[in-house]
């Protein structure tokens, strides 16, 4: 813990000689975007370049000017800074399988209880709620950004929260609505096909803003975090989970999960889009959200279960509160 906070302090120090380059992924992303428009991303297995995992881009050896010039250009050309067309197509293709616990979303299903456990305890602590209650989140207004089929929104609703689930993919929203209808508790969830930016435009605000496993798929993580911050009420909380950009995450989240175990469709994740915990803390900090707590999720292949841990090297979650400026 001590070493972690030291690392964070070092990162947040503006006098640091070698500032972290957040744009390193952008050139490769724009290249990849072009390629995926040329070859249909859905037919991934037939694409020879997809049979092998893409090599991890090398760190810190790209000219920063290139990144700086291409980054904003890409963002300006879109309706919304956080949408990424090729990612949308990719997930739209497997939307039907959201609730199939043995399907492409199996890892999310198996990880879900662990994520919920972290969220529950973090929120109970922050908002002074009773952890032993069956509906500990009673009365909290929560938005689940990138809700997909609603596998997080539903547990939150069952725990008493007033949940809004948003997703940029219309198909996901339809599936989420259909699934939630079966139970009066979950049918109260408000599902909208929209984006975090649109919600900001509509001047919506929530006690808690949650964006799990989504920031690695958005076009501009910094902009995205800003939108999340704008959606968070004063004294509210923001939770973001993602995958670290580490060698281990390349080996496990891409090579193992997509190419060996076939848990995820090939091409689900692009390693270069991943953020390290330090980067996430920094961009959240710039968006006036101060990270209070971080935890890693570790998968035990023997038991098939995920557990919370201090190890942030692959999957991790950050809990932050809005700092008043």
């Amino acid at each position: 813990m001590a070493s972690k906070s030291w690392k964070l302090r070092r990162l947040l120090n503006p006098n640091r000689t070698n500032p972290l380059n957040f744009s390193i992924s952008r050139p490769s992303r724009s290249l990849r975007t072009k390629r995926s428009f040329a070859s249909a991303p859905q037919s991934a297995p037939s694409d020879p370049s997809r049979v092998l995992p893409p090599p991890p881009p090398q760190l810190l050896n790209r000219p920063s000017q290139e990144a700086a010039s291409s980054g904003p250009g890409v963002a300006r050309g879109r309706i919304s800074s956080s949408l990424n067309e090729s990612e949308l197509k990719k997930f739209s293709a497997i939307a039907e399988t959201w609730w199939d616990s043995e399907g492409p979303y199996k890892p999310l299903h198996s990880m879900n209880p662990t994520r919920v456990a972290f969220i529950r305890s973090a929120l109970c602590r922050h908002f002074g709620k009773d952890l032993s209650s069956a509906r500990p989140l009673e009365g909290l207004k929560i938005v689940d950004v990138g809700c997909g089929g609603g596998i997080l929104s539903e547990p939150l609703a069952r725990m008493g929260a007033i949940v809004t689930g948003v997703d940029a993919i219309d198909k996901n929203i339809k599936i989420a609505r259909l699934h939630a209808e079966s139970d009066p508790v979950t049918s109260s969830i408000e599902y909208c096909c929209t984006t975090a930016e649109k919600l900001v435009e509509d001047q919506r605000a929530f006690d808690v803003v949650i964006a799990l496993e989504i920031i690695e798929h958005v076009a501009d993580p910094a902009e995205f975090c800003k939108s999340l911050a704008d959606l968070t009420d004063a004294n509210g909380a923001t939770l973001i989970s993602t995958i670290n950009r580490s060698m281990r995450s390349y080996a496990t989240a891409i090579v193992a999960a997509e190419y060996i175990l076939n848990w995820l469709p090939k091409g689900t994740h692009e390693w270069s889009r991943f953020l390290t915990p330090e980067e996430l803390v920094l961009i959240l900090n710039r968006a006036s959200i101060s990270v209070q707590e971080m935890a890693g999720f570790v998968y035990n292949p023997l038991t098939g279960r995920w557990t919370l841990s201090d190890d942030l090297s692959v999957n991790f979650i950050a809990f932050g509160t809005k700092s008043s400026r």
Binding site: S110, A157, S182
Partner: protein, 528 residues
């Protein structure tokens, strides 16, 4: 390797063979199985979409009033026997699950007639509750009731065999305890659990005017506004027997059809309906098992003196067990071939008493020797079991079989107790395993509720299966292996068994380990 395995079984088995029990009083004798099978469809049974299925659905649509809010439950517990009741009690004793509303199903009202006044002759359906299951009864508030009624603690158990080669005696003191367990009549356990659920219900229950009941607690989602106090609602469903179960297409509720055309809906169905579980059949759970071609004869006998020890002697045709049930009474469970059982249940009472004394002491080989290689056992020396003076109940024989479900959980349906596993009654572990299941399932459901999981979600239920199945399989295998080891009368095998007894008797850490396993404190024999 073969030798190792045999020794292992003998050593382990000798820890357990003390009591034979009849669990499953309710569901075995009566229960849902008599229900005429009209439709065997279920959602879990993927091939269910045949013409029978369709006609059943049409029939239901015509006759029933589906989706009435009153017929919606969180949990439907099918089978109101000891295990079903224990599960309901466990749900109410855990903060995260006490808000759930549930229906308990016991279709056969005649069964309830059994529960008479306390001055009845002791019932021969008894259970030996091991020490860690006692804590379940204490936790749910059922223990007080048991203490006020006939029960008998035992602090010793003695196991020996007819060859006179070996014996094992366990004392609670060996593991620093006062008791090893408690023998209670099943009707007392059942009534205790029921009374801790809701005392008022009992009168209605015993008159047999209800078929299904619904308990609603404060905090129940549907009734929060109306009921501040914890209220009980009775619901009468007429000749309600389960005819089919149907997992709804949206996969979040199970529809339970009744013979009168009514239906109820539940998010989770718990099959606690005994060895011949209707839920298990309807939901399409697969099972493995076999019949032992042995019958158990059970009855209640009287001694001249009070008895505080559980006795079990292995005979060539099967074990005979004597369990203290208090007031100089003991319960007998005697395993034998079907032919013998016919003979012994029809012989005169005097002859039967003689036969029992013959089996316990007078007949077969010599008494086991207490000293082993000059070792003086002192306190744990072999004792002569108390003589039986009188038969005080009917004699009843029933066949023994082993049955184990391959899965305990399917989507929105789960099995507990004998519905999931009926073991050889050799060690009286049936109801203890069932209580273990009930508690484990309630805890797993509480964890699920805490994480906002859907009730009946398969991944949640599978955690219960993962926790209980290895334990139950291990116990079933040990009992089965032990039964097999004793079904052969062969010189070398007899010596091996005796060696097992000696090891269990004279190696102190082994003995402790065996007692902790048999009393449920330890998960695995020997290694725990």
């Amino acid at each position: 390797m073969v030798l190792d395995a045999l020794t292992f079984q003998a050593v382990d088995g000798s820890s357990l063979p003390w009591l034979l029990i009849r669990r499953r009083v309710l569901s075995n004798v009566s229960g849902l199985r008599i229900v005429p099978i009209r439709c065997l469809t279920s959602g879990a049974n993927a091939g269910g979409a045949n013409s029978t299925h369709d006609s059943q659905i049409n029939h239901d649509q015509n006759k029933s009033t589906p989706n009435n809010e009153l017929d919606q439950y969180d949990i439907a517990i099918v089978g109101g026997g000891m295990v079903g009741m224990a599960f309901a009690c466990a749900l109410r004793s855990i903060p995260l699950t006490k808000h759930l509303n549930y229906a308990i199903w016991q279709s056969n009202v005649r069964t309830m007639g059994r529960f008479g006044d306390d001055d009845d002759a002791p019932s021969f359906f008894v259970s030996a509750i091991i020490i860690n299951c006692l804590s379940l009864l204490v936790d749910v508030g059922a223990w007080e009731y048991v203490l006020q009624h006939r029960h008998s603690f035992f602090d010793k158990m003695q196991v020996w065999d007819y060859t006179g080669l070996g014996y094992t005696k366990y004392c609670a003191r060996d593991v620093g305890r006062d008791i090893l367990g408690c023998v209670v009549e099943n009707k007392v356990i059942h009534k205790a659990l029921f009374s801790s659920l809701e005392m008022k219900l009992w009168s209605t229950f015993s008159k047999g005017t209800w078929q299904a009941m619904r308990l609603l607690d404060e905090g129940s989602a549907s009734l929060r506004k109306q009921s501040k106090i914890h209220s009980v609602q009775l619901k009468t469903i007429h000749p309600s027997r389960l005819t089919s179960m149907d997992l709804q297409s949206k996969k979040s509720t199970v529809k339970l059809d009744l013979t009168d055309g009514n239906a109820i809906y539940a998010k989770l169905v718990v099959g606690a309906d005994g060895a011949r579980s209707r839920v298990r059949d309807l939901a399409g759970f697969k099972t493995t098992g076999w019949s032992y071609k042995q019958n158990a004869v059970i009855c209640t006998v009287e001694h001249a003196v009070e008895n505080y020890c559980a006795w079990q002697r292995f005979l060539p045709n099967g074990p005979i067990a004597l369990l203290p049930i208090g007031d100089k009474f003991s319960n007998i469970v005697w395993t034998m071939s079907p032919n013998e059982s016919t003979e012994r249940t029809s012989m005169s009472e005097n002859d039967f008493v003689k036969a029992v004394n013959h089996a316990l002491n007078d007949g077969y080989g010599p008494h086991p020797s207490s000293s082993f290689l000059g070792y003086n056992p002192g306190d744990s020396s072999w004792e002569v079991p108390p003589r039986v003076v009188k038969l005080v109940s009917d004699r009843m024989a029933f066949p023994l079989s082993l049955l184990h479900a391959k899965d305990y959980a399917l989507d929105h349906v789960v099995l507990i107790g004998d519905a999931a596993h009926s073991v050889h009654p050799l060690a009286g572990q049936g109801v203890n395993l069932g209580f273990g299941d009930a508690l484990a399932l309630a805890k797993v459901i509480a964890d699920g509720v805490g994480l906002g999981a859907e009730l009946g979600e398969l991944s949640v239920l599978k955690k219960y299966e993962a926790e209980r199945k290895p334990a139950n399989t291990m116990m079933a295998a040990i009992l089965d292996g032990f039964q097999k080891a004793y079904s052969v009368d062969l010189g070398p095998l007899n010596v091996l068994r005796a060696a097992g007894f000696h090891m269990a008797q004279h190696i102190s850490p082994l003995k402790k380990s065996i007692i902790s396993y048999a009393t449920g404190e330890q998960k695995w024999p020997l290694f725990g």
